[in-house]
Symmetry: C2
Subunit: 291 residues, 2 copies
């Protein structure tokens, strides 16, 4: 009877040692996300009330968008161990080997579509707090929603939505955090500007604890967002490393270079170019020249 | 042989009279939208390059969103004679009997999601021009996208989109114009603030000509939009009857009353309330107290 359970645990990656005439000793716990470990005592009220865990999906965002179209509730979460078609911003690929965190949160806030960028900023604030709290690392936000440690990207967010002008039908906040993977899994040109939480902290990170911390922070900041966007903007500004520096923004049409002076009430980056014109930018790739 | 074709035409609603020992005389043409009539010499370059015509659908917007998700091209148009589940803003119903125009245009502009409201304003500008040109009526825009004649609503627009923050994947511009229907088809409380092009002009409107004029105006203004949004905003301001008047805006959370002083670069209505605070409003129902 005992041996049957032992076999199951061994199959799941647990390290178990037979101790002669004593029984069995647990020597290591595998790094697997388990539903029961995630939800036990989680204590969130919206984010994480429905959690779907997959070993592999094409894209957690694509799956979450489909689930949302079929009525998945506000706060439902899709998590996968790996993605075969992970998505980045602007149609790019998000490389998604095992050992990291790939999750998408379905939200249904009752706000107009113009407010969507603030939900992305909210997500960046929540994940930055989670990383700081759990890993003790000084994570910072690069506009609009990359999270960096010492200038190297450790997390990206991709927001997708189905909306009318007057209301968001559903919005999916995709979060990819590079946690324990070997940095060698990334192409050379990406490696130079990327890091993982393990590499930055010098220790393997417990992914379940990171996930739980992110869910709790998201739950809390989503409620702040629902109460009003001003506190989100203020907290984003406090955690960001873009405003106050000289930046280059490559948009689809033009490239702007100037001083990043702040963000406006819709989350647009304000850039003062050298000819004295203040631009409000909605989208683009930012390079920051730190002082 | 001739009789076979005559029978087809009679079935389609053409009025045909047999003239003894002479042949047949065409006495009336039915008010049916026909693909060949719509496209012949249309001359547009984007809007209307693919036109799908239906006698009845649940909602042209819903169908267009599905077609867009499956790859329908920039400028594709869905048109229906009637809708069984016509959609208005904020989950409301758009009453859709025969005799009017129900159309949805699929657009794929390469712009961030924050620009979506300007596409709605662009649609209102184009349809207002079409009505003015074809019917000689002084159509005006009430923020954001109702079209009125002498203060009565004759057209509504409903924009839906699938988007990431940095780019619109596709956007559907739904246009409902009350053309020739009996105003008695509307519920009593709506009748009082609605009109049709036929009622306002005192003559039945040729729907095919109206549709062709709308497609041409949309094609032209969509190209203006692609070149830059400033001209759209300027033209919208010229055609609107909201700015400069005292307004009440009922939003989902609060109601604002004040002077409408303009729109900002994202199409938000600027309202100066009596306590001297300037508000930028993204969504809401506007009542205008005309001077």
């Amino acid at each position: 009877m005992v041996w049957k359970h032992i076999k199951t645990l061994l199959r799941e990656g647990y390290g178990i040692e037979a101790v002669p005439s004593r029984g069995y000793r647990l020597t290591s716990i595998p790094d697997i996300l388990r539903h029961s470990d995630i939800v036990q005592g989680l204590g969130t009220t919206i984010v994480g009330i429905d959690i779907r865990l997959f070993s592999e999906v094409a894209s957690t965002n694509t799956l979450a968008m489909e689930m949302a179209a079929q009525g998945a509730p506000d706060g439902a979460v899709v998590i996968a161990e790996t993605q075969t078609g992970g998505k980045g911003r602007l149609g790019r690929t998000w490389i998604s080997p095992a050992g990291n965190l790939y999750m998408s949160v379905i939200l249904r806030p009752e706000v107009p579509a113009s407010t969507a960028p603030l939900i992305t900023l909210m997500g960046a604030v929540a994940v930055t707090h989670a990383i700081r709290r759990l890993c003790g690392l000084k994570a910072e936000i690069k506009w609009p929603n990359d999270i960096l440690i010492s200038g190297r990207k450790v997390c990206g967010l991709l927001t997708e939505m189905s909306a009318e002008q007057d209301r968001i039908r559903h919005i999916v906040l995709g979060i990819g955090v590079d946690v324990n993977m070997d940095l060698g899994a990334l192409p050379g040109e990406v490696q130079a500007c990327a890091t993982t939480l393990a590499a930055a902290s010098g220790t393997r990170i417990k992914r379940t604890e990171l996930l739980r911390t992110i869910l709790r922070e998201l739950d809390q900041w989503y409620q702040v967002f629902t109460g009003g966007t001003a506190d989100i903007l203020k907290e984003w500004e406090r955690l960001n490393m873009t405003v106050g520096n000289r930046v280059t923004v490559r948009g689809s049409v033009e490239t702007l270079e100037g001083q990043a002076t702040g963000i406006d009430d819709l989350g647009r980056l304000l850039i003062l170019t050298d000819n004295g014109i203040l631009h409000a930018v909605s989208a683009g790739d930012v390079s920051v020249q730190k002082k």
